[in-house]
Symmetry: D2
Subunit: 304 residues, 4 copies
Amino acid sequence: MLKPTRFGIISRLDKEEALNLVIQVINYLESRGIDYLLERELYNTLKDKVDIRKYKGKVMEDLKDVSHMLSIGGDGTVLRTSRLIGGNEIPIISIDMGTVGFLTEFSRDGVFKAIDMVIKGNYEIEKRTKCACIVKIFNEEGCRNKSNYHQKMLPDALNEVVLITKNPAKMVYFEVYINGEFVEEVRADGLIVSTPTGSTAYSLSAGGPILEPSMDAFVVVPICPFKLFSRPIVVDGNSEIVIRILKKSVLVVIDGTVEETLKKGDEVILRKSDSYTYFVKGRKFYGKLKKLEDYNKKLIPSQV
Amino acid sequence: MLKPTRFGIISRLDKEEALNLVIQVINYLESRGIDYLLERELYNTLKDKVDIRKYKGKVMEDLKDVSHMLSIGGDGTVLRTSRLIGGNEIPIISIDMGTVGFLTEFSRDGVFKAIDMVIKGNYEIEKRTKCACIVKIFNEEGCRNKSNYHQKMLPDALNEVVLITKNPAKMVYFEVYINGEFVEEVRADGLIVSTPTGSTAYSLSAGGPILEPSMDAFVVVPICPFKLFSRPIVVDGNSEIVIRILKKSVLVVIDGTVEETLKKGDEVILRKSDSYTYFVKGRKFYGKLKKLEDYNKKLIPSQV
Amino acid sequence: MLKPTRFGIISRLDKEEALNLVIQVINYLESRGIDYLLERELYNTLKDKVDIRKYKGKVMEDLKDVSHMLSIGGDGTVLRTSRLIGGNEIPIISIDMGTVGFLTEFSRDGVFKAIDMVIKGNYEIEKRTKCACIVKIFNEEGCRNKSNYHQKMLPDALNEVVLITKNPAKMVYFEVYINGEFVEEVRADGLIVSTPTGSTAYSLSAGGPILEPSMDAFVVVPICPFKLFSRPIVVDGNSEIVIRILKKSVLVVIDGTVEETLKKGDEVILRKSDSYTYFVKGRKFYGKLKKLEDYNKKLIPSQV
Amino acid sequence: MLKPTRFGIISRLDKEEALNLVIQVINYLESRGIDYLLERELYNTLKDKVDIRKYKGKVMEDLKDVSHMLSIGGDGTVLRTSRLIGGNEIPIISIDMGTVGFLTEFSRDGVFKAIDMVIKGNYEIEKRTKCACIVKIFNEEGCRNKSNYHQKMLPDALNEVVLITKNPAKMVYFEVYINGEFVEEVRADGLIVSTPTGSTAYSLSAGGPILEPSMDAFVVVPICPFKLFSRPIVVDGNSEIVIRILKKSVLVVIDGTVEETLKKGDEVILRKSDSYTYFVKGRKFYGKLKKLEDYNKKLIPSQV
């Protein structure tokens, strides 16, 4: 961990305050003589705001050139950062802009302290499980002819893989298998397979339990199940989960991004990814639950 | 209720067994000398199956020509029947084909008995509340200029009005008002406003309570709310519920049919409809809950 | 409503600040020349704090002597006040001491304004449904010999009637009938029948929906049901709900007070009470939901 | 696993059919020349039914004398068997009598096949995590003087440890800590800490998720929480969970048996037990979920 530090920087581009924080951060890094690179789109956006030639930071051409990644924005930016990093072992320093964030470990005000911690090598890394997702697409609808399909690897999910009805308010029919054992037929708007990290995101809204982020597990949660017995199931992290579409078309949504459309007969195969997302650890987990509640409260105007 | 009976007949068209039951029913009606008319599409479909000229039944040109409507199929057929009947006071005799149905009052085997009950005038009518739905569409996105919008009346809902995100797995932001009082800001996949009749349909899957069908009430249920406090709210049937879209686009889905797309700033106004749907009463309500459970059970293969 | 006003005063006795507010209130009433009477226990408690002979207020010997009842404390005090008032049409002016309260309509700071409103006759009354509760106790365990039982009327419930296992963590078996129709067999820790007023109290914790207080309805909610299908059921306010104990002993708890122990075979009959509880209206209903959330938030130390 | 087999036998004593199955089992074992011993109470009960002197089976004086334990009854009998076995590595062959059982691996009809499997050494063992429970009782109420308490080890829980209000329908206040980190203050009727095995028992009724029995985890589930945000939390099996009573008295119930009464200030310390419960594996886990649903269905009379 004490190799020379070179930061990559990624930011939300549509928020002035995030870009302003990026500028403060690069000024700070320059003043301390620390190397950094900027994600291409961020570099191009900054050009319109500052005289970029005065800065030493160039475009980040290769992930191998950075030791740590500063992610400035919210949970969405962290998800984008994790996807960009892919299988590389680059820890993320995740900074929020004041809004709720289970994936952000540092507040805007803590950014310089976080940078200093990293420069000095005085920090902990938290390793987060990702969910690998393979789709098996049959060439004819409903066909299960074993030789007549193609497979496709989708990006790993840091939060969750969602299979959701392509036709809003129309149920989809799934079959769920865990380690080859048939679990149940689910009729629902959709189905979530969440990592522990994602258990406080979409899965929670759909009625799933909270999992400590360090757990080696996944949680399978139906969305508005017709079958009333359906309950969230927590499975071991080494399980293979297979979901077969029995009826209607579904979208495969990974960390909020639609990745694929599947039809009757197609399958999704989910298991733990070989790679992890690494976070420089800031806040305590249970403290974040409080943050979420605070934020919930702010949603209600104080007119009462 | 003892005026001469003339049945209208509507049926599911894509199920052979439903069409076969229609043929049995019209043979029975002919044998008893009872008048009937056939919904146009059903008439056309039957032409390919039987020598339709041998039958007295003609196409139903005007709802005013029928005293009762036989609906043969499942809950979907009943919803279609209720929509077709609109504001007319024509009782529905709802027949299912063996599958679960909260809206069907008679089983396939009970169809002749039901017809006899009606002919003799020996039956009860159950009057079901519908939800009227007006959308207020502003001409510019987000604009609340009071003079710059148009209103549109959508069909009444027998089960529910659903406002659901147009972008699967992306939250929508709503403001909910009841009788002019601000209730809460909801961030969710969607929002259901259900009649008592609909409380055992989509609303139940989203976590809503069961309401006795005779109640004068609506239930407001968020779908996968981000705000964890959000709970189903049961409001008086004379309430006016206004929902304003704060962010993103939503689809307005009435009884399972997409009717409209709304954008930021648009509003939906919901209240009790002036007209009702009338059912010839067959099964007892709480007995139907058992039916649902039985059906749920059938979803699980007996391989275990 | 413009008859001469004479307040009765009831208060929580174990909180210094509630008693202090009582003293402020009686000073205010004396200064305005308004008559008032004190509940006996409150009178006796005040004697130790002030020179009670200096005050005009006497012990309230008869409910008929008061036109309005000031209830100072929290929800518990309001429940006690409602029980004391019984079938008399005496509106309650409910004051809280800063803690959460769905039954309190005015805050400590609003007490004088509330009193003034009442003196001037410038206020609205909200009428709340209560639940009447009759227990039918058979002389032998499990016996259903119709002539061998006695009936007993318990106090009306403003919030809810709870039937709960006498043996913590051991399930009870119930049969539930609504208007003579069998609904289901419930195996659970207990069962709640809540008024609309009580829907934001214990019923909510057990998973029940929120009902607007003006509704004419009851909600039946199982507590930790073994049968996973069990859902809250909202029934019309004119329904008769009968619950039969099939196994084990249960306590009948009305508005938080244990009233009776029942055994196998005994029955509870619930219906709308002939009398109501009347409140002088202060806060708006949906605003109180916000109060509850605020309070929830305070439960979490700000150490994070 | 191929050491000479000697069965211990435990049974439910209050059901004739369980005792009859015991007799069939010992006849079978005698006919096959296999050794067995009978739990003392079972031995004494059998004496009144059969001429016990004709049998070779004696009273089981020491657990060390048996290689496997036959548990005949339902889940309650298995919990009693697990408690009796304590820290000994004796696999349980759990037989149900036709009623639902997540802890029973074999049906009544499969008992001889199960015995044969064991005799031949042709079986799998499933190792189940137990929860160890230490109570820390302070000598004065509410006191946290560190030197003024005593600790007590309660029996391990195979299913769950429940802390529940001693006063039915009155909330208890708890503080929950996980690995020294404060999680939240809970106001509820009680709190469940469940093993994966227990996740399909009481925890499920209180709203907890289903955990695969092989997981290394616990789930913390509040019972009727006042704080509506409260959600089930799944924690790593190596966590230490500490619960402090803030208000009122609670009962500590382990696998359905009341073990201790705690007062304000007292603490419960929960962690994984050093010992496990071992089961001879019969049914598949997800198949048992179906059994539960079947059973649920039977609770409803078919009168409808």
